[in-house]
């Protein structure tokens, strides 16, 4: 786990990690959230939609941003204040994705940072989800 203090973060710093979403993770998110919408849970229903197969919940991307902020940048001393999400394309199943973020503003008086956060498809580079996070640092 990264443990950057407010003094150690600066505008332009970025980080990323690679991951993928499998059906077991989608099922775990169904259990966590209670979102049983058939687009995420019913392969037959999903096959009849424009997507052709069941899709991960977009909010799994939100959870991945939580992991990014809490573990990668800034990590240990972060206090998550806000996160916006724009779902640009569906998250794919069993496909490598890159979760990344970059610090775009450092607010000295609040010991806070503003970051852009993005999830991209590793092979195509397409942006799947983007947004902005506001994070305060406890040290």
């Amino acid at each position: 786990m990264t443990a950057k203090t407010f003094a150690e973060v600066s505008v332009g710093q970025r980080a990323e990690f690679e991951t993928s979403i499998d059906e077991a993770l989608v099922d775990a998110f169904v259990a966590l959230s209670g979102d049983t919408n058939p687009l995420h849970t019913d392969e037959a229903y999903a096959a009849g939609t424009a997507f052709g197969r069941r899709l991960p919940h977009g909010m799994i991307g939100g959870a991945l941003f939580s992991r990014f902020v809490g573990v990668h940048l800034p990590g240990r001393y972060s206090l998550y204040l806000s996160q916006s999400l724009l779902f640009k394309k569906p998250l794919p199943l069993d496909t490598a994705i890159i979760v990344s973020g970059e610090i775009v503003q450092k607010i000295e008086s609040a010991r806070a940072i503003r970051m852009t956060t993005t999830i991209t498809d590793k092979s195509s580079g397409a942006t799947l989800i983007d947004g902005e996070a506001m994070v305060q640092l406890l040290q």
């Binding site: 206090l79 204040l81 607010i107 000295e108 008086s109 609040a110 010991r111 806070a112 506001m134 305060q136």
Partner: protein, 76 residues
């Protein structure tokens, strides 16, 4: 104190007429952690002043924000 009151009114979504020196996070439900940071950044930008972390965290109500901006040379 119109300029500062306008910032607080816009960020906290409360009428300017309701803003008194006693306005605080305890009396304004929208004055939460995130809006506190938005208030600081808006005040710093519009008054062209810079607060230290200790100064900013010392603001307990609107009256103290007025005093702090004035101490930095700002005309509220």
């Amino acid at each position: 104190m119109n300029k500062l009151a306008k910032i607080f009114s816009a960020v906290l979504d409360i009428p300017e007429g309701d803003i008194t020196d006693a306005l605080s996070p305890e009396t304004a439900s929208n004055w939460d952690s995130l809006n506190a940071i938005i208030l600081l950044t808006e005040i710093e930008k519009q008054f062209n002043v810079q607060f230290t972390y200790d100064e900013a965290m010392g603001i307990k109500n609107f009256g103290e924000a007025v005093a702090l901006v004035r101490s930095k040379g700002g005309t509220v």
